[in-house]
């Protein structure tokens, strides 16, 4: 009979379960105190894991659409990406689209709560077709090529109190706002929220001295699994003789974030597991006391036919019951308390209801049961090894 079958057999044999239940109830205060230890441990492990996971989800959520793009930038010492280099990129396989980007920065001033505020905005020259692949409109439409129209990011619109049809003045040139973009969060390609996007003609008019070529090229790949080999191929083609461009795969950001937040979660859970360790020692203590107090009973059981295995099973079942009850309570409290804290701290309790957060709750639950069983193992072993005659004589 394997362990699972043994447990099922013990539970279905209601006398074993009844004995375990009554023995736990016998010293109810002591049982409750041991259970509180496990509950705290489960809550600590689960909530620390959930906290780390929520931090990760919260940060990765703020980086939008970063997985499927390559950012090609001039190598150190190079001024820009040339048209020839873009031609070379076009020969690489697995490319969905190539979006050249030129950009400049501007300081703008606006009034907020009655005070003058300065802010930095990026002015972009991205072809309309390319821009449509990178951003989404909240209101209005995209600019027409050759026009003096522009679309602005959500932060720019909010700070300057812009709406479609209004005008924005950059370097004494007025541009008509025809569209406002949806908020996108931080990006490694372009900063949409604080950007102003206009036609190439208008951009050249604004910055007549800008370099020939582009500041960066955003390459959208077809198959994300092949993104690294696509980056290698671009580098191989362009950097044959000398390093002219650097290629950065945005998915490496998510991989690094996963690693960093994975380590944070593990560290936090490590702190949480200390409380579970303390709970384990408490269970060990409670069960050892119980073993000592029940020495005579163990002797009686052995005299009437209990084997070492029977005694071991009885004590382990008690530890299992204690672990199950306390871990369930711990998991429920984690979910309830976690929901309230998430709603208050992150203003978003949805992180708690993700599969990855539930995994940490389950992990805490199983760690709680395992701790209880490990804590109960030595007392159970000790009880099972008692000599029946010595146990019967114990007073």
């Amino acid at each position: 009979m394997n362990i699972t079958e043994e447990i099922i057999s013990m539970l279905s044999n209601n006398m074993y379960a009844e004995l375990a239940k009554r023995n736990l109830k016998r010293q109810s205060i002591r049982t409750i105190l041991a259970a509180i230890g496990i509950i705290i441990g489960v809550i600590a492990i689960s909530s620390m894991g959930i906290l780390g996971n929520s931090l990760k989800l919260s940060v990765t959520d703020s980086f939008a659409d970063i997985g499927d793009k390559l950012i090609v930038s001039p190598a150190p010492g190079e001024d820009s990406i040339t048209h020839r280099q873009i031609d070379q990129m076009e020969k690489v396989g697995n490319i969905e689209s190539i979006i050249p980007v030129s950009s400049s920065g501007e300081i703008i001033e606006y009034r907020k709560s009655g005070a003058e505020v300065q802010s930095y905005i990026s002015v972009y020259d991205i072809e309309k077709e390319g821009l449509e692949k990178l951003v989404e409109l909240e209101d209005g439409r995209f600019f027409k090529p050759g026009s003096t129209d522009c679309v602005v990011g959500s932060s720019v619109a909010e700070n300057l109190e812009l709406a479609t049809g209004k005008k924005i003045e950059i370097d004494e040139t007025k541009l008509r706002v025809v569209g406002i973009l949806k908020e996108r969060g931080l990006g490694f390609d372009i900063n949409t929220d604080s950007g102003v996007f206009t036609s190439s003609e208008m951009y050249e008019k604004l910055y007549p001295d800008a370099d020939e070529g582009y500041d960066q090229v955003i390459v959208v790949v077809k198959d994300i699994d092949e993104i690294d080999s696509t980056a290698d191929e671009i580098e191989e083609r362009i950097n044959k003789k000398e390093e002219l461009v650097t290629v950065f795969a945005t998915n490496s950001i998510t991989e690094n974030l996963d690693q960093v937040f994975g380590s944070i979660s593990l560290f936090l859970m490590g702190i949480g597991s200390i409380s579970l360790l303390v709970a384990g020692v408490s269970i060990l203590n409670v069960m050892l006391m119980s073993t000592m107090e029940r020495t005579k009973e163990i002797g009686i059981m052995k005299a009437v036919g209990a084997s070492r295995k029977d005694i071991l099973k009885m004590f382990l079942l008690e530890a299992l019951f204690l672990g199950l009850i306390a871990s369930s309570a711990g998991a429920l409290l984690t979910l309830g308390g976690g929901y309230i804290i998430m709603a208050l701290v992150f203003k978003n309790a949805s992180y708690l209801l993700t599969l990855s957060s539930m995994f940490y709750v389950m992990e805490g639950f199983f760690f709680g049961i395992a701790t209880s069983l490990i804590g109960g193992m030595y007392p159970a072993w000790k009880a099972s090894r008692m000599k029946p005659l010595d146990a019967l004589r114990y007073e």
Partner: protein, 236 residues
């Protein structure tokens, strides 16, 4: 009680318990204490034996040897023709579970369990189903003459006599061929003690070998055979 009296002529001559030159030595510091010295006895199947002796004579040690609760320092103990020296812990447990029922002076019931649950305990270790063992436990309590309204009472809710009846029912649970009783009337008044001994007598008459350890000469009257022990040696 259903057991019919078994006349001596019908009793088996087959020894159910055999001790051959059994010694039990306890070591206390540098001192060696002989609890049993070269004891050799044979107890026939279906016999009612009283082991008599004063306190410290070795009678309980002898009973513990027969009940597989203790092993001899030297010599051989056979129960139901099985040499105990050749058994490991599981083997000794199996002998206790299937061949021996214990009755103790202190009753030794599990305080958290009711009367019927106490009787069920040996059957749990024998792997019997909950339904079957509950039925059998009720039967055993009836056989031990415990009024069934006490079946759901815990030990502290019963008198000494009632507790000893529960203990007897528990000893009978797995229908063992041997009943071992260590001062079974020691904690009971005379009348209750007599009733318990009558019960053991009746169980013996239905075929169970009963071995009673006592220092009370009154109990000798219930048995067929008396073994006297003094300073760890059989004297008669």
């Amino acid at each position: 009680m259903n057991g019919a009296y078994m006349p001596e002529s019908q009793r088996s001559t087959h020894p159910i318990v055999q001790l051959q030159d059994v010694s039990r030595i306890y070591t206390l510091g540098k001192n060696r204490i002989y609890a049993l010295k070269g004891v050799s006895i044979a107890i026939k199947e279906g016999d009612f034996v009283t082991i008599m002796g004063s306190s410290g004579s070795g009678k309980s040690t002898l009973l513990n040897m027969i009940g597989c609760l203790d092993l001899p320092t030297s010599g051989r103990v056979k129960v139901n023709n099985v040499d105990l020296s050749k058994l490991d812990d599981d083997g000794l447990t199996a002998i206790r579970r299937n061949n021996i029922g214990f009755i103790f002076q202190q009753f030794n019931l599990i305080p958290t369990l009711t009367a019927i649950e106490n009787v069920e305990i040996p059957m749990i270790f024998n792997g019997e189903s909950p339904r079957k063992r509950r039925k059998k436990a009720l039967m055993m309590l009836k056989k031990a003459d415990l009024p069934l309204e006490y079946a759901r009472h815990k030990p502290n809710e019963m008198s000494g006599g009632q507790q000893q009846r529960v203990a007897i029912a528990r000893a009978l649970a797995n229908r063992p061929p041997i009943l071992l009783a260590d001062e079974p009337t020691g904690n009971l008044d005379t009348k209750t003690g007599h009733n318990i001994m009558k019960l053991l007598e009746e169980l013996n008459s239905s075929g169970t070998t009963v071995i009673v350890v006592t220092h009370d000469p009154e109990l000798e009257n219930y048995s067929h055979t008396t073994i006297r022990i003094q300073d760890g040696e059989i004297i008669g």
